[in-house]
Symmetry: none
Subunit: 236 residues, 2 copies
DNA sequence: TAAAGCAACTTGTATTTACAAGTTATTCTT
DNA sequence: AAGAATAACTTGTAAATACAAGTTGCTTTA
């Protein structure tokens, strides 16, 4: 049951779940630090460590003398959401199909980014997803990540789960930032078929590299987005 | 001398200054926590608090058993920049034509964003620019900003100058963040003509709202980008 | 009644202590 | 000489404690 997860992290996960799942609403006060101590049998430094993590994730805002105020900021970094694509195109009716379950592959010979040594040595986990809004496919993404310290990852089910959430919860991998390139392109036949595009409909093409808190661990994605009826939205 | 600044913050400011000013280079190790304790006469939790702040800012990366590794993440966050696909390195010649010099106008009736009261009261400065890379037009943008405390702005020459730089240097207006929507679209005849597009070439369409350090002062831009030979590039 | 003051909360800062766990270079053994 | 063991580092987690400082609502006082 313990799973060797530190106490502060367990409390962090619990509070985070309660915030994002709606147990607390925007503006609500979290239990005070002393209450959390008593509730979970830990000391204040440990509780504060958990709260600190929530603060720099932007999920709470602490005010001296007042308490910890719940926030629900848009979870976007750069142009696209990091906690999944849901918040980037609006949460309604988003279904995710896994076209290619995570599997171990070689890195492509012609790869647009330079790989670090541990990355190129350990091989690449490859997966493809197709996301639907209102029953229409709008978002097709190809993801590659290095096979470093990801036990049982290829066995994990990612249906309707955020790739980033799985990485964060089970492997303590957090996305810190990255770089991306955007283009409007004319899709080839395959993309046109996957996204069920009308003829002449261009797609938004994004190539991104996300770096994480693990040194030399980057996530590489290629994205095709049908912007006929939707737009990519982002805060920065 | 004390200034009522907490110790951990003083250490943070000091280390931060040393990192950005180049005392430490990318990849260097900071002094160990115990060394910092001894050097500055504080205890480890206090030192760790300072380091935590640096970690959170992305300026260092800690590794258990190793130390605190200095990072130098890219500076311009969220703002787009152009990068060509042809030649990666070298100073790229970017020419800017002002198609419409800044002039005072009414705000459009159908405006996609909600305007604050001071914004809608004071009218809008309108301008259009066309930017060339290697002699080819690639970037056409329409900008609207509220006419608030911008003396002589409509008389200013913006040829080959950054709009943001003028705002920052002469009017102390800094862009803090914003939101944007992206699409791939089929251009109409006017855009096709301005950007000298081949038939069938889609364009990247961006609608953005940038907020600044001046309350209620936002910059609104519409951008058409020819991504045939170039891409929009961004760090975050 | 209205304002001042005072508890009783809240989070903020800081010390001290202890052990766990990952990394690295040296030393010892084979 | 090559490998294993170890010692000496590093950061990570966690406890118990103390006081400072901001916020709030109740109580006292004018």
């Amino acid at each position: 049951m313990n799973e060797n997860v530190p106490q502060y992290r367990k409390l962090y996960e619990l509070l985070r779940k309660h915030i994002v799942s709606g147990v607390y609403e925007e503006g609500d006060l979290l239990p005070s630090e002393n209450e959390l101590c008593a509730l979970h049998g830990m000391t204040r430094p440990t509780v504060r460590h958990a709260l600190d993590t929530l603060v720099n994730e932007g999920l709470i805002l602490k005010k001296q003398g007042k308490g910890s105020i719940v926030r629900k900021p848009p979870q976007n970094i750069g142009i696209l959401s990091i906690s999944g694509t849901a918040s980037a195109i609006g949460v309604r009716y988003l279904r995710t199909d896994i076209l290619q379950k995570p599997e171990l592959r070689k890195w492509p010979d012609m790869f647009p980014f330079d790989l670090s040594e541990p990355e190129s040595e350990s091989g690449c986990i490859y997966m493809e997803r197709l996301r639907y809004v209102d029953g229409q496919p709008v978002f097709y993404d190809i993801n590659r990540l290095p096979n470093i310290n990801l036990p049982r990852f290829t066995n994990r089910s990612l249906e309707n789960k955020s790739l980033f959430e799985v990485l964060r919860k089970h492997y303590q991998v957090n996305v810190l930032g990255g770089e991306q390139q955007l283009k409007a392109i004319v899709p080839d036949a395959r993309i046109k078929n996957i996204l069920r595009l009308k003829s002449g409909q261009p797609v938004l093409y994004i190539e991104r590299k996300l770096n994480t808190n693990k040194e030399g661990f980057n996530i590489y994605s290629t994205i095709y987005f049908n912007s006929e009826k939707h737009t990519i939205f982002g805060n920065f």
